[in-house]
C-alpha cells in the first residue's frame, strides 16, 4: 500500500507530467479499484471458497473417526460416498431421498404461506391508521428474536402434557379426542411448518412493504377513477409492480427455508422424527452423529448442486419473462 501512496504523489501535478506518465497513469487508474478490491477478494476466498473446496475434497475421502485427526491420511473413496448417497434402494440413500421429499414439501408450503401472509399484511398496512407503527413493529418481532430463544418457546408450547397448543386445542376448544403429540410422530411436520412460517413471514412482510413504497400513488388514484375495485387494484397494479421484488424474495425465502438448520434442530434435537426429517439435520446426523464426514460432505455437495440448479433455472425463467417487458 505504501508504494501506491508514494506513486500517487507525482500524480498531483497532472498537466506537466501527463505525456510521459500516460501509460503507468492509466494502469494506476484502472488498477486502483482492483487493488482496493483485493483484500475483499482474498477474504472472500478464505472465508467462502476455500471451505467449500475443502468440503468438496472431503466428499471424495473416507473420513470416519479413524481418520479425522489427520485428514491427509484418509484414503480416497472415489465416488463411493456419492454412490452410497444416491443408491435409493439401500437404507442410506432411501433415507436421504425421503428426507429430500420432506424438505421439498416443507419448503414449498412454508415459502407459499410466508409470502401470502407477508404480502397480505403489507397491503393491509399500506394505508395510514392509528397504531400502524406499533403493529408493524409487533409484526417484526418474530424475525428479530434470536432463533434459539424463539424456537425453544415453541417447544414448550408444543409439549404434549403441559403445552399451550394442546391446552387450547384439546382442553378448551375440544377439537381433538385426546392431547396430540407435536414434537414426535406425524404431527411434527405441521409443528415445524408453523414455527417456520411464524419465523419467516415478517421478512416477506418487510420486503413487500419496502416494495410497495415504490408504487406511485397516482396509479391507484387513476385506477380508482376508472372504477377499479380493491381486488382489481391489487391484481393489476400492486402485484405486477411488485414482481421484481417478489422474484428475489421468493428465491431468498426458498434458499433459507430449504437450508434451515436451527429450527428443526432446536425443535427436535439431533434425531428428527421421520415426518419432519429436514435435509440439513439429516446431513448433520450423517456426518456429526455417525462420524462419517465423507458421506456427509457428499450429501452436502449434492444439496449444493440441487440448489444451484434450482436457482439457475429460476433466474433464467424469471429474467426471460422480464426482458421483453424491459425492452
Amino acid at each position: 500500500m505504501t508504494t501506491t501512496i508514494e506513486r500517487g504523489r507525482p500524480g498531483t501535478r497532472p498537466v506537466k507530467a501527463a505525456p510521459a506518465n500516460r501509460r503507468p497513469g492509466r494502469i494506476r487508474r484502472i488498477g486502483l479499484p482492483y487493488l482496493l478490491l483485493l483484500p475483499a477478494l482474498v477474504l472472500e476466498l478464505l472465508v467462502h471458497l476455500v471451505p467449500m473446496v475443502i468440503g468438496i475434497v472431503m466428499s471424495f475421502k473416507v473420513l470416519t473417526q479413524f481418520y479425522i485427526r489427520d485428514w491427509g491420511s484418509a484414503p480416497w473413496a472415489g465416488l463411493d460416498n456419492y454412490s452410497l448417497s444416491v443408491d435409493f434402494n439401500a437404507p442410506v440413500g432411501e433415507a436421504l431421498l425421503h428426507s429430500f421429499f420432506v424438505t421439498v414439501a416443507f419448503t414449498l408450503l412454508s415459502v407459499a404461506l410466508c409470502w401470502l401472509i407477508g404480502t397480505a399484511a403489507a397491503i393491509f398496512m399500506q394505508d395510514t391508521f392509528r397504531g400502524r407503527g406499533l403493529l408493524r413493529a409487533l409484526f417484526l418481532v418474530p424475525y428479530a428474536l434470536p432463533v434459539y430463544a424463539a424456537v425453544i418457546t415453541w417447544v414448550f408450547m408444543f409439549q404434549h402434557d403441559n403445552g399451550l397448543v394442546n391446552h387450547v386445542l384439546h382442553d378448551q376448544l375440544g377439537l381433538t379426542d385426546k392431547p396430540s403429540f407435536w414434537l414426535i410422530g406425524d404431527n411434527s411436520f405441521y409443528a415445524l411448518l408453523t414455527v417456520s412460517v411464524w419465523k419467516g413471514w415478517p421478512f416477506a412482510f418487510l420486503i413487500v412493504m419496502a416494495g410497495l413504497q415504490n408504487i406511485p400513488r397516482e396509479l391507484y388514484e387513476a385506477a380508482a377513477l376508472d372504477g377499479a375495485g380493491i381486488w382489481q387494484q391489487i391484481r393489476r397494479i400492486t402485484l405486477p409492480s411488485l414482481s421484481p421484488v417478489n422474484q428475489v424474495l421468493v428465491l431468498v425465502l426458498f434458499l433459507w427455508t430449504f437450508n434451515d438448520f436451527n429450527t428443526p434442530y432446536v425443535l427436535f434435537g439431533r434425531a428428527a422424527p421421520e415426518a419432519a426429517d429436514l435435509i440439513s439435520v439429516h446431513i448433520y446426523q450423517a456426518s456429526f452423529v455417525t462420524w462419517n464426514f465423507g458421506a456427509g460432505s457428499a450429501m452436502s455437495v449434492l444439496l449444493l448442486l440441487f440448489l444451484l440448479a434450482v436457482t439457475g433455472v429460476y433466474l433464467a425463467v424469471t429474467s426471460r419473462g422480464r426482458r421483453p417487458a424491459d425492452a
Binding site: L45, I68, W71, P91, D161, F181, I184, T290
Partner: protein
C-alpha cells in the same frame, strides 16, 4: 487489461496456496505432546451437577488447590452434554483442544479409534499410582479390549430404581419391585391412586440405549457379536426392545407423554411427586437440587426378569461413568498427567464423588464411610456385582444413534396408540442395523 487479469489470477492462486498450506500446517504437524507450556492447562469438564454453575462451584476450589500444589493454572470450562461430543470431535479434527477433558465412558472406544487421546500404558499408569488403584469394572469402560485404555475412570455411576415412599405407602405396596412382573403389578395399584407409574426419557437416544442394553442382557442377547459386528435383530434383542417399549405400549406403566421427553423432564416429574418410580443413574444430587428431600424416596436395584441381580442374565445396569482423558497433542503432557493424578487421588475422589453423588472408581476411596449410605450401597453393589459395560467398539456412537432413534420412533408409535409388535420392532432394528457403517 491483460496484466490486471494476470495479477488478479496471481492473487487468487496465492491466497489459495496460502490457505492450503495453512490448513495443512494445522492438521499434520501436531502429533505427539510436548512440555512447551508447563504452567497452564485447559480442562473441559462435563456437566455433572444440576447446572453448569454448580459444577464451577464444585470444581474451582479443587483446581485452586492443584495450582497451589504444583503452580499450574487450570483453565476450567464446563461443557454441556449436548455440545460435548461435537466439541471433542472438532478439537480432534483441528488439533486445537483442551489438554485434559472428561468423556462419557461409553465413548471411550469410539474416541480411542481417532487416536487423539493419550493411551494409558503401564508407564503412564505408573505416573498416577498404577492401574490397580482402580476398580476393575470401571476399567472395563475405558476403551476397546486388548488396547491400552484411552482414559482413566473419574466418576462411576449405576442405574437404580428410585421410588416415592409416600406413593408406595398410599398404594399399599410394602417393598419396591424386584422383577418386571412385580413392577407392572405394582403399577396397577399406583394408577388406581391416580398417580403415574414410572418415568422414562423416550426421545433421549442415550437413555434409550442404556435401558435396551440392560434388557438385552436380561434376555441373554448382545447388540454386537464377539468380533464386534452389529447384530440388532436377534430374537433376544427384539424381545428386549419390545419389553422396554411395552412398558408404555402394553403395560401402560410409562405415561404416553414421556415419549417426547429428552430434557430430563422425567426427573422433574419424579421430584414433584407426579410419578412413583424412576430408573436413573446417581440421581440423589439432582433430586435434591429440585427440592426433593432424601427421605422422601427410596433406592432399590433395577428389577430383573426373576431372581436377584447378578452376572449374565441377571445384569441390571450398564457401567455408567465419566472418564478423564488427555489430548495426545497437549503442550503440557507432564502437567496433564499430574492433573490426572490429582483428580484421581483418594482425597479428591472423596470430595468430588460426594458432591456428584457418584461412586469413586478408585478402590481406596470407595471404601470410605461417605460411600456407605443406603443410597450409595445400592449403586456400589450394582457396580460390583450386576453391571455390564456397554459394547466397547469403535462404532458405539453410531450404535447409540441408530438404535436410540429406533426406540424413540417405537415410543412415538406406542404414544400414538399404534400397536407395537415383534414384527414392527424387528423392522425398526433391521433398518437401524442397515444404517451402521459396513465394516
Amino acid at each position: 487489461m491483460r496484466t490486471i487479469r494476470a495479477a488478479a489470477a496471481g492473487a487468487v492462486v496465492m491466497s489459495l496456496a496460502l490457505a492450503a498450506t495453512a490448513c495443512g500446517g494445522g492438521s499434520s504437524t501436531d502429533g505427539e505432546g510436548s512440555n512447551d507450556a508447563p504452567k497452564t492447562l485447559t480442562y473441559w469438564a462435563s456437566n455433572q451437577g444440576a447446572s453448569i454453575e454448580i459444577d464451577k462451584k464444585v470444581l474451582q476450589p479443587e483446581l485452586d488447590k492443584f495450582e497451589k500444589e504444583t503452580g499450574i493454572e487450570v483453565k476450567l470450562e464446563v461443557v454441556p452434554w449436548s455440545d460435548l461430543l461435537n466439541r471433542i470431535l472438532t478439537a480432534t479434527t483441528s488439533g486445537q483442544g483442551p489438554d485434559v477433558l472428561n468423556i462419557g465412558n461409553t465413548w471411550s472406544a469410539s474416541l480411542q479409534a481417532t487416536g487423539a487421546l493419550l493411551p494409558w500404558n503401564e508407564a503412564n499408569f505408573a505416573k498416577i499410582g498404577g492401574r490397580d488403584r482402580f476398580v476393575e469394572s470401571a476399567l472395563g469402560s475405558t476403551g476397546a479390549e486388548g488396547q491400552d485404555p484411552a482414559a482413566v475412570p473419574l466418576y462411576s455411576m449405576a442405574y437404580a430404581l428410585y421410588y416415592n415412599k409416600e406413593i408406595f405407602a398410599d398404594a399399599g405396596i410394602a417393598k419396591p419391585p424386584a422383577t418386571w412382573a412385580e413392577l407392572v403389578a405394582d403399577g396397577k395399584k399406583i394408577q388406581a391412586k391416580g398417580k403415574q407409574v414410572i418415568g422414562a426419557e423416550g426421545a433421549n437416544l442415550s437413555e434409550n440405549i442404556h435401558h435396551v442394553f440392560t434388557f438385552a442382557k436380561q434376555h441373554g442377547a448382545d447388540f454386537f457379536t464377539k468380533d464386534g459386528k452389529p447384530d440388532f435383530t436377534s430374537d433376544g434383542v427384539v424381545a428386549a426392545v419390545k419389553q422396554y417399549v411395552d412398558l408404555m405400549a402394553k403395560d401402560k406403566a410409562i405415561p404416553v407423554g414421556n415419549a417426547e421427553y429428552a430434557q430430563n423432564q422425567s426427573v422433574s416429574d419424579f421430584a414433584k411427586g407426579k410419578t412413583a418410580m424412576l430408573l436413573w443413574q446417581s440421581a440423589s444430587a439432582n433430586l435434591k437440587s429440585q427440592g426433593m428431600s432424601d427421605d422422601a424416596y427410596g433406592i432399590a436395584p433395577v428389577p430383573v426378569q426373576s431372581g436377584t441381580p447378578g452376572a449374565g442374565e441377571q445384569v441390571n445396569s450398564m457401567v455408567a461413568g465419566i472418564n478423564l482423558a488427555v489430548f495426545k497433542n497437549t503442550d503440557n503432557v507432564d502437567g496433564a498427567t499430574k492433573f490426572v493424578k490429582f483428580m484421581t487421588s483418594d482425597a479428591e475422589q472423596k470430595i468430588l464423588n460426594t458432591a456428584y453423588s457418584s461412586i469413586p472408581p478408585v478402590a481406596a476411596a470407595q471404601s470410605d464411610a461417605a460411600f456407605n449410605t443406603p443410597a450409595t450401597v445400592v449403586l456400589k453393589d450394582t457396580l460390583a456385582k450386576s453391571a455390564a459395560a456397554l459394547p466397547q467398539v469403535a462404532d458405539e456412537s453410531q450404535f447409540e444413534t441408530a438404535v436410540g432413534t429406533a426406540v424413540k420412533e417405537l415410543f412415538a408409535e406406542a404414544a400414538a396408540g399404534r400397536p407395537v409388535t415383534t414384527e414392527s420392532v424387528k423392522a425398526r432394528l433391521e433398518k437401524a442395523q442397515q444404517q451402521m457403517p459396513a465394516a
